[in-house]
Amino acid sequence: MSKIHVQTTINEEATEFLCEPRQSLLEVLRETLGFTGTKEGCNDGNCGACSVTLDGVLIDSCLMLAVEAEGKTISTVEGLANPEGLHPIQQAFLEHAALQCGICTPGFLVASKALLDHNPEPSEHEIRHWLAGNLCRCTGYDKIVRAVLEAAQTVRASA
Amino acid sequence: MPVAWIPSLMQKLTEGHQQIPVEGSTVRQVVEALESLYPGFKDRIVEHDRIRTEIAVAVDGEVVTSGLRARVGAESEVHFLPALAGG
């Protein structure tokens, strides 16, 4: 199967890769590009562990073919922090102990950031609704929701 | 004198008795004492000079790790239970 050359932007860096048409974006991120922060939990769009944003829209990268990344902008968990430090969401997750095994955490962080980009002052219900596409088996979601509420405040305060 | 508690399914070996006072300051001595009262009992508990791994021995409510060498006090209870862990 001959490979296709794709040019895209990942975490604000121009990136190019070769991939087979049948490879998902998730597979290419992890196997070809080394962005193993995005996780595979189910590979059929039900758990959200593979969440990334595509042109600012939250998606499951297991449901997108890598070739569709041509000309698009993708953000993964690896793009959240910067050299100055962690993103407020990452910091809030740590302080609220909003992770136990941590496998769902990258997905939740990307999803939470997408929420705050879209709605800077979400209510608890709005957070729960937005994050319902991300499954967590360890935490029961309580501390995750609290972390997002606090991160929202922090982000608003520094805006 | 320590008391050995016999699991329900083993009581046919001990003539139906559940609680049997026996002399012994180690689990080994208790088991030997039970064997002399009820020949054949030891074989159900011990293999290759060790407690069978599917059986846990509890002395005074605590599962012991030193098997036959575990100490038994004058007022102790010795129980034989299925060995279990968790998840």
Partner: protein, 760 residues
């Protein structure tokens, strides 16, 4: 050894040591393992619930370009009648090996029959389609009660029922029979004022961890095997792999990667021997990751059950007798979990007369494995139902009834064990004193409140710890307990507390099987307790050695050196730990503290309770959780945030178990709902905030009073939910899950019709 107050580190909430890696995506989980020359494997699984393998033709798969090796059960070492003992009793090696790759029979839909490795996972999957397996389909049995009947299809024609060390010689699908008896239940029942008897069914459920099983193996040219895997126990994985491959454990190194959830399901091995054998044949490292459907279809779910409970009480509110019959699914092979259910079923109550009769039954489902306090949830659901009915019949408030009959220090359980100091009563009192309980119960139409209490005994087992003092006063702490919930930090905190160090100065690491002493699994709620204890002892070892070094420096006798509040002193001389660390090279070289534990006593069990408020939609039967509180005895909460996390996590799993989760098999014995879409676990939208109340009845058997908290919290939720639903709609369900269709049936029909709706 007692838990005092005034701790510097214990009870605080530091950011966990592995936290930054986990929120930046840098942490390496098993699926992230990268090695040069890595090949990718996949597993072919039987579609039949019960079949004989007549032939397997792998030639076409081998010929596919990119395929490097193909494996079947015939390639694993022959097991014969070998019995292995990996610490929990003798087991037929054939059962363990056949569950990795079937040889003569497949016993459940999803049973592995072959494996392939190739240069990428897609080629490996294509190769699976080219493997031709000739099956002779056999009659299957997937229903627990059907499997117990005479004439049921027998999975293992030579398997005889084991009765506590005795081989009964009887062949059937009954693998094990336990019985516990205390006092004289027959007489006690006969004289009781009230006797209530009910029957229950619970469906098969899965642990549901988000990370699929994975293993990467390299079988080196020198015969050394390295395995990178997400596991709850590196040493357990090593032992099981060595047994299946018939290789000494000294030739196997297991390198634990970070693990994305386990809950008991990642204690058994599935992929490790396959990865190793594929690596041996191909000469390259091989990685296998289970697909999500395979996780559901092929890995140990926890037992579905059939339970009967009978309890008798007197007018004064005292329970005088209790009887339980418990039958558990063991799945395709013996080695099930009903023994634990027997220990937990009446464990919250002081009952002088009782009988518990329980069975593990094989049937054509994947082999059952542990799921968080395995057996306790099913038993608690049943017992608490009858307790509520007794209280109602006697006209006694249900919480008051529980308090009156609460097990306490010195209570003898029906399996004979006498409780040491424990906190059942305190947990029940915490229900009574909680803001939630004191608030008015929801009183709208179809709203209700329920309470429940459950237990898990916890285990000790073996752990090891080594601590290397760095010259800047920090310590590198190595331990072998894979970290599924933040435990490496709780272990570091116990070490830091002992030496008055900052927790950030203790660098905790989970290391491989060549780098630490034998450490038993991360499970059984044992890590904070046992590995924490090993950390504490290794800190004392460091302290003793550092005192000797100070004595050398100050040229005094070592008994003239004191250590207090982090400072070594003798007369007017003193060094902080940090200062003294800078002098190790001139006093004999590095200081390494070490300790091992295998506690003979002092494992403290934990009780957990719930208060649940619900609303039931009368048109759909859907249950909404309005408010939920979990109370648990932690003995001493080392890191309260992670204790709360365990309590909330177990509650969420218990709520899913209560309301929706079940394995759904079609008429061909295949699992129809092997995806997160249809095996529906709770989402953030299904749950409210989960209030936590940590009770601390210190465990006298641990230096800081710790009781493991990982498990007991999953026991009470289905019972509390059943009570709340009963309060809401007037019908008390007797089957799990209490899914919308079952609730609608219960509200629309009579109680006796709905009561025994089985869970699939």
């Amino acid at each position: 050894m007692s838990a005092g107050n005034g701790y510097k580190v214990i009870g605080t909430r530091p950011v966990r040591h592995d936290g930054v890696d986990k929120v930046t995506g840098r942490a390496v989980y098993g699926g992230d393992t990268r090695l040069s020359g890595l090949l990718y494997g996949q597993v072919l699984r039987s579609p039949h619930a019960h079949a004989r393998i007549k032939a397997i033709d792998i030639s076409k798969a081998q010929a596919l370009p990119g395929v490097k090796a193909v494996l079947t059960g015939a390639d694993l070492p022959k097991t014969g009648d070998t019995i292995v003992d990996l610490g929990e009793g003798p087991a037929r090696l054939k059962y363990m090996s056949d569950n990795v790759l079937a040889t003569d029979k497949t016993l459940y839909s999803g049973h592995p029959v072959a494996a392939v490795c190739a240069s990428n996972v897609h080629i490996a999957e294509e190769a699976l389609d080219l493997i031709e397996v000739e099956y002779e389909v056999l009659e299957a049995v997937l229903d627990l009660r059907e499997a117990m009947k005479e004439g049921a299809p027998q999975l293992h024609p030579d398997m005889t029922t084991q009765e506590f060390g005795e081989d009964t010689g009887r062949t059937s699908n009954l693998a094990t029979h336990f019985q516990h008896k205390l006092g004289d239940p027959d007489t006690a029942f006969a004289s009781a004022d009230v006797v209530i008897e009910r029957e229950f069914n619970t469906a098969t459920v899965h642990q549901g961890y988000i990370e699929p099983h994975n293993a990467t193996a390299m079988w080196n040219a020198d015969g050394q095997i390295t395995i990178w895997t997400s596991t709850q126990g590196s040493f357990a994985a090593r032992a099981q792999t060595g047994a299946v491959l018939d290789i000494p454990v000294s030739k196997i190194k297991v390198v634990p990667q970070e693990i994305g959830g386990g809950f008991g399901g990642k204690i058994p091995i599935y992929l490790e021997p396959i990865a190793a054998m594929l690596s041996k044949t191909s000469g390259q490292p091989v990685k296998l990751i289970m697909t999500r459907p395979a996780v559901f279809e092929s890995t140990g779910p926890t037992p579905g059950s059939h339970i009967k409970i009978k309890m008798g009480a007197n007018k004064d509110g005292k329970i005088v007798a209790a009887e339980a019959y418990i039958a558990f699914e063991s799945g395709a092979y013996p080695g099930g979990l009903v023994g634990a259910a027997a220990m937990c079923v009446f464990s919250c109550y002081d009952i002088a007369n009782g009988l518990i009769d329980c069975y593990d039954v094989v049937l054509n489902k994947p082999r059952s494995f542990a799921y968080r306090a395995p057996g306790s949830t099913q038993a608690c659901f049943a017992t608490e139902h009858v307790v509520e009915l007794l209280a109602a019949e006697l006209g006694i408030d249900p919480l008051e009834f529980r308090l009156r009959n609460s097990a306490t220090t010195g209570t003898r359980r029906i399996d004979g064990v006498v409780y040491p100091k424990m906190g059942c009563k305190e947990v029940l009192e915490a229900i009574r004193d909680s803001e939630h309980y004191k608030s008015a119960a929801p009183s709208g139409p179809n709203q209700g409140r329920g309470i429940s209490v459950g237990y898990w005994f916890n285990v000790g087992l073996q752990s090891a710890c080594t601590a290397s003092v760095n010259t800047d006063g920090t310590v590198s702490l190595s331990e072998g307990s894979t970290d599924i919930g933040g435990s490496r930090t709780s272990i570091a905190m116990q070490f830091a507390e002992t030496l008055c160090l900052d927790v950030d100065d203790v660098r905790a690491q989970v290391v491989d099987t060549d780098s630490i002493g034998h450490t038993d699994v991360t499970g059984g709620s044992r890590v904070t307790y046992a590995t924490g204890w090993a950390a504490y002892k290794s800190a004392l070892d460091v302290q003793a050695q550092m005192c000797e070094r100070a004595a050398q420096l100050w040229e005094v006798e070592v008994d003239q050196v004191a250590f207090e509040e982090g400072v070594f002193s003798s007369g007017d001389k003193s060094y902080t730990f940090k200062e003294l660390s800078g002098h190790l090279d001139e006093t004999g070289g590095p200081v390494i503290g070490r300790a091992t534990v295998n506690p003979d006593s002092g494992v403290g069990g934990s009780f957990a309770a719930n208060i649940a408020d619900v609303e039931v939609d009368p048109d759909t039967g859907k249950v909404q959780v309005l408010r939920f509180t979990v109370i648990q005895d932690a003995g001493k909460a080392i890191h309260p945030s992670y204790v709360e996390g365990q309590m909330q996590g177990g509650s969420a799993q218990g709520i899913g178990w209560a309301l929706n989760e079940e394995y759904y098999y079609n008429k061909d014995g295949q699992l129809d709902n092997s995806s997160y879409l249809d095996y529906r676990i709770p989402t953030s939208l299904d749950l409210p905030m989960i209030e936590t109340i940590i009770v601390e009845v210190p465990n006298p058997g641990h230096p800081f009073g710790v009781r493991g908290v990982g498990e007991a919290n999953i026991a009470p939720p289905p019972a509390a939910m059943a009570g709340a639903i009963a309060d809401a709609i007037g019908v008390r369900l007797q089957a799990l899950p209490m899914k919308p269709s079952n609730i609608l049936a219960a509200t629309q029909a009579s109680e006796s019709d709905a009561a025994l709706a089985a869970g699939g």
